[in-house]
């Protein structure tokens, strides 16, 4: 017997999946889609430019979450940004320093970085130690990132992933040094700290839009459109529910 929650999730997926496939096929068919501006994604290439010009490294933090748990989606969003920056780093010969807090995320991040260099035929520039596992707890990870941002030759800082209160320790270290920072997290409680310390922020769901904005993948643009339609649907359902409860 299917429970009420299961039925709701199933209905949600049954609406969402066809919508996603429909919009993906439309984008693949060449339909032009205008996406609203997200300044943080527009500013990402400038981080690489800054690092390349100064001959210093770019720090890319994937947050204190990892793969396999509740934070998997945020970690994957961070990996998408890493994939884009890896390509750019290989092209502009800029060495990134990638930090992770999850041991399972470490080989995945190394693979994503390596693929960026491979795509640009610059595999010789790839160093596995460019990806560093700093520690499995948020506090240890924050301490590690603080050290990287404060003492290493870093030109800019990009962080996307799960981050709790410990973000403030990292963000302030970067801000104190005057680093250009782009930070995105899905943790609502952390967003005020991000807003206070970063130059550009990716708020909540925006971190999941990296594939559409940075890589222009039709599947990602299609899923983003489906997401928008689902949001409208949910808003409609909420409004109907409010009216229902108010009138009846």
């Amino acid at each position: 017997m299917i429970t009420e929650t299961q039925a709701l999730v199933l209905v949600f997926l049954l609406i969402f999946l066809p919508l996603m496939l429909f919009f993906t096929s439309r984008v693949r068919g060449g339909r032009e889609v205008s996406l609203r501006r997200i300044p943080a994604f527009e500013a990402l290439p400038s981080l690489i430019g800054r690092a390349a010009e100064s001959g210093q490294a770019l720090h890319i933090g994937l947050g204190s979450g990892g793969v396999g748990g509740r934070e998997t989606a945020s970690a994957l969003a961070g990996l998408t940004v890493l994939g884009y920056l890896a390509d750019q780093a290989a092209v502009f010969d800029c060495s990134p320093v990638v930090t992770v807090a999850d041991m399972a995320l470490l080989p995945v991040a190394q693979d994503v970085l390596r693929n960026g260099y491979l795509r640009q035929n610059r595999l010789r520039g790839y160093r596995p130690t460019a990806v560093r596992f700093l520690g499995p707890t948020p506090a240890v990870y924050a301490a590690g990132v603080m050290d990287v941002l404060a003492h290493e030759e870093i030109a800019a800082n990009a962080m996307v992933g799960t981050m709790g209160d410990e973000y403030l320790l990292m963000g302030e270290s970067g801000a104190k040094r005057g680093l250009n920072q782009i930070v995105g997290t899905s943790n609502v409680e952390t967003l005020p700290f991000v807003f206070a310390t970063a130059d550009e922020t990716l708020i909540g769901e925006e971190i999941f839009a990296g594939g559409a904005y940075l890589l222009r993948l039709p599947e990602h643009i299609g899923s983003l459109l489906a997401q928008d339609w689902m949001r409208l649907l949910l808003v409609g359902v909420i409004l109907i529910g409010v009216l229902w409860r108010t009138v009846l």
Partner: protein, 210 residues
């Protein structure tokens, strides 16, 4: 960014997709004779076992990165301390077990106080961050400053004529606009997570191969 086709990446995609579908089906479907939940539990156990191997990769990475730092003389002393501490705890853990006195002592009297110290710095960092964010730059920052100051004042345990009104205002700000904004973001994040999950299941996102 175009994806290149390769047999190996296709195999990974099929395996990942199939495992994902089975785990998802186990959440929805209950068919007699077909024990999807059991299969789901086995797969999740495998995932935990495989993830445990990542501990080894993590340890190797820590050693390699710190050896590199020692060679390059970039914070070499700290790296030396890190490696020595890691080795010591590893030796104690392997000889006497993770619940041995030495390992427990290290966690209780070294790691926990250090983490507490780090988080205690948060108070100062919050003040500095507030100083920066409360600068008047535009209408938004002016509103933020105004609401921030009013909420701060409402927390002060002093009795002044309009203290109750201010407390009511604070409660309204926290219960209505702040909660509405937070719920909006959470709803968006949920949609983003579902989308990411579906893209993984369909093999569109492949963080494991290219």
């Amino acid at each position: 960014m175009k994806r290149r086709f390769s047999i190996s990446s296709s195999i990974y995609t099929v395996i990942a997709g199939a495992v994902g579908v089975i785990v998802l089906l186990g959440f929805f479907v209950e068919i007699e004779g077909l024990h999807l939940q059991d299969f789901q539990a086995i797969l999740l156990d495998w995932a935990v076992t495989i993830a445990a191997f990542a501990f080894l990769l993590g340890a190797i990475n820590v050693v390699r990165v710190n050896l590199m730092r020692i060679r390059q003389r970039k914070g070499g002393l700290y790296s030396l301390v890190t490696l020595a501490a890691m080795l010591l705890v590893l030796v104690f853990g392997l000889t006497d077990g993770p619940h041995s006195l030495a390992v427990q002592w290290t966690f209780k009297w070294v790691l926990v106080p250090l983490q507490a110290t780090l988080f205690s710095l948060m108070a100062f960092f919050v003040v500095v961050a507030a100083w920066r964010v409360f600068r008047l730059r535009n209408l938004e920052s002016a509103l933020l400053l105004l609401v921030g100051v009013l909420i701060l004042v409402s927390q002060v345990p002093l009795k002044f004529p309009w203290a109750e009104d201010l407390a009511g205002f604070k409660n309204w700000i926290l219960a209505v606009p702040a909660t509405a904004g937070a719920r909006g973001i959470i709803l968006g994040v949920t949609l983003g997570i579902v989308t990411t999950g579906l893209r993984l299941l369909l093999g569109i996102d492949r963080p494991y191969s290219d």
